[in-house]
Amino acid sequence: MDNSFSSADLEFQQEVRAFFKSAYTADLQAKVESGEDHKSVAIEWQNKLNAKGWLAPDWPVEVGGTAWTPVQKFIFETERCDAGAPDVVPFGVRMVAPVIFTFGNDEQKKRFLPRILTSEDWWCQGYSEPGAGSDLAALQTKATKDGDDYIVNGAKIWTTYAQSADWIFCLVRTGTFEKRQQGISFLLIDMKSEGIQVNPIHSIDNHHSLNEVVFENVRVPQENLIGVENQGWTYAKALLAHERTSIAGVADSRRWLRDIIALAEQQTNYKGRLIDDPQFQTRLSDIEIELMALEYMELRVLAKLSSGDTPGPESSLLKIKGTEIQQALQELRMQTIGAYSGSLHLSNFQNDLHRAGSNSRRAYMYGRAATIYGGSNEVQRNVIAKAVLGL
């Protein structure tokens, strides 16, 4: 057992740190924290990452990846959070791209991957359906062959930023088999196609990021099919395990924790500083200690990956604990701020606490989704019960 970075890793750490320091400017930071104009701010930041060649570390080198070791990825992620820089918007870079470069044909790779790197194409994810929830295989959106095209009918739901997406990657039903997981295909659909309607879903954080996407006789060229018809479930599943592993969000949670401590150093409680209140310290360390455990849980998984293993059901564990910790931090941040954390709007603030309060309210509310999406934590527990404990 040892924890040490190689000298090459240490050099890399310096390079990454320097990059974030120069690239993530105060101006950009202010734009990000305003929470407004999400897409253009994200593109501005992703273009900087892409210019450095660091937008898509996980991709194969020949299409734009970095061939970083898991340790390097860990370093990058830690430095990113220390710098307070936002994560990449995942739908293109992290979600559809791995499916394209793993299961897509050369034509598809050439057509789609470069435009993801340049942020010319903005993607959204079409998995969940109204009424299906965590039971992904219950999907009913149909794609029927018609000449060189598929005709798609059905609806997808909880589609984040569908309103600003150019493309959607969808799981659609192309056949009927005894096992519901069969007969599902992975299809790329142009959001400008005729017959697509995007209905906004306003969520409890008082924002509009979620949508329902309805397909009515939408014509999709068969060249947009990834891999083999009826094998889409396999492609999506490979992706989901990857998604769960990265969902632990240790570095982000660490940033939240530091933020709470900074707030508690300013807040007053029982005529002293809140941070000095033993009860508050215990609330904080209840979470911090779990976060320290999660950090090493994740490192153990990363170390295994770097020795060639693929992520197994333990990724469910990272997802459960990671999201529980995120929610606990969001809750504690509101408690730290007090009544100001009920503030609804992001503008016209009287003071800093107001801004922090409104941000924390929104994070808490939006954060309720973390234990629901990507396979609810209940479903993750089912997975561990079956795959790890053999129950």
Binding site: S134, I204, E378
Partner: protein, 379 residues
């Protein structure tokens, strides 16, 4: 021993239930909540007509003469209906302090206006630096001729956006965090020197941050001796909020149980999953705990034998358990509703947000548990 509401109280509750059924569907409520004012004056006028606004006031002031049990009875129903009209800040806070004023002329003038629904008032007490400490008051009042001049800043004033009159807690003596030396002042919200910034909270309330710059106000308490009245009103306010929370808990649990009975996944209703069943039993027990402690607090607060220490223990225990269990119930309600629980379209999120605001008003769970510890184990 008897732990049920009386027949009169049940009639009062039923009148609210009937009104809400006929007039306060989720969409009807929304009309008021999403208006600029944040509530419906029409509904509020109906409350006055039905006599509900008179409940907390003494008979000699033209009120119904209701006890804290009567107040809890109506607040529980307002909680169930998720009433957004500002009953709490106007009746319990503003009206409560007014009724304890030593200025009989002002009482005689204003209380009837509260009861008939024509006056909106708010209490400006907490300050940005104070977090939950009601005696951390930097706002000062200095004598100027017959009246007083206020200077300072108040924040998250409940009902403040819409109030015509404000009662302001200001320091007339002592250091910033002294318990004594506080006095109550009445001032019009549009008076000169009053700068009011209104904003909404997540539960739909319209509140305000308010600055006073040499604003002229009328003293309505004994000079420097407002703490007792404040504590009396806060005690009732705590119980009123908890009664509202108990009503909310009941709705959240009921809605969630019903939802799981209709929602299907993996070919069956999710209510058939034992893991979810046991969690719903736990939220049911959470609500029963809160309800039982509310009942206990009501009977002990209205019992002559109860000491102030015992009353403080009950009230702080109640607020602590409402904070813990309210969060438990709200979080589970959203989780078990899945994606639907995240939408603004369902009422679950709205109930949850109101519950969260209740549990940030005048203190949070840790604050009240700390107070409990002081009373119960303090040396």
């Amino acid at each position: 021993m008897n732990f049920e509401y009386s027949e009169e109280q049940n009639l009062l509750k039923e009148s609210i239930v009937r009104w809400a059924q006929d007039n306060y569907s989720f969409d009807q409520r929304r009309l008021g909540a999403e208006s600029e004012k944040g509530y419906s004056q029409d509904h509020y006028n109906t409350f006055a007509e039905l006599g509900w606004l008179s409940v907390p006031f003494a008979e000699e002031n033209g009120g119904y003469g209701g006890s804290v049990i009567d107040i809890a009875a109506i607040m529980e129903e307002f909680g169930k209906a998720l009433v957004v009209e500002p009953v709490f800040p106007n009746l319990i806070m503003f009206g409560g302090l007014l009724e304890r004023s030593n200025n009989d002329a002002i009482k005689a003038e204003l209380i009837p206006q509260i009861i008939d629904g024509s006056l909106m008032g708010a209490v400006a007490m907490y300050e940005p630096q104070a977090r939950f400490d009601a005696s951390n008051v930097a706002t000062t009042a200095s004598q100027a001729g017959d009246g007083y001049t206020l200077n300072g800043e108040k924040c998250v004033v409940l009902g403040g956006a819409d109030a015509a009159k404000l009662i302001v807690v200001a320091r007339t003596s002592g250091d910033q965090t002294d318990e004594d030396g506080l006095s109550l002042f009445l001032i019009d919200s549009d008076a000169s020197g009053v700068e009011l910034s209104a904003y909404p909270l997540m539960d739909g309330q319209q509140v305000a941050d308010i600055k006073f710059n040499d604003a002229s106000a009328t003293l309505i308490s004994e000079l420097g001796a407002a703490t007792e009245a404040l504590n009396q009103v806060l005690n009732i306010a705590h119980v009123a909020l908890c009664a509202e929370a108990v009503g909310i808990m009941e709705v959240l649990n009921k809605t969630t149980v019903e939802y799981t009975k209709t929602r299907k996944q993996f070919g069956v209703t999710i209510s058939s999953f034992q893991a979810l069943q046991h969690r719903m039993v736990d939220t049911f027990m959470s609500a029963e705990q809160a309800k039982s402690l509310l009942v206990g607090t009501l009977v002990e607060l209205t019992d002559d034998r109860t000491t102030p220490q015992r009353a403080a223990k009950m009230v702080n225990a109640l607020r602590t358990i409402v904070a813990k269990n309210g969060k438990h119930i709200g979080d589970e309600a959203i989780q078990l509703h899945g994606g639907m629980g995240l939408t603004d379209e369902l009422n679950v999120g709205h109930y949850h947000k109101r519950m969260m605001m209740i549990n940030l008003m005048f203190g949070n769970g840790d604050f009240f548990q700390h107070q409990f510890n002081q009373v119960a184990y303090g040396s």
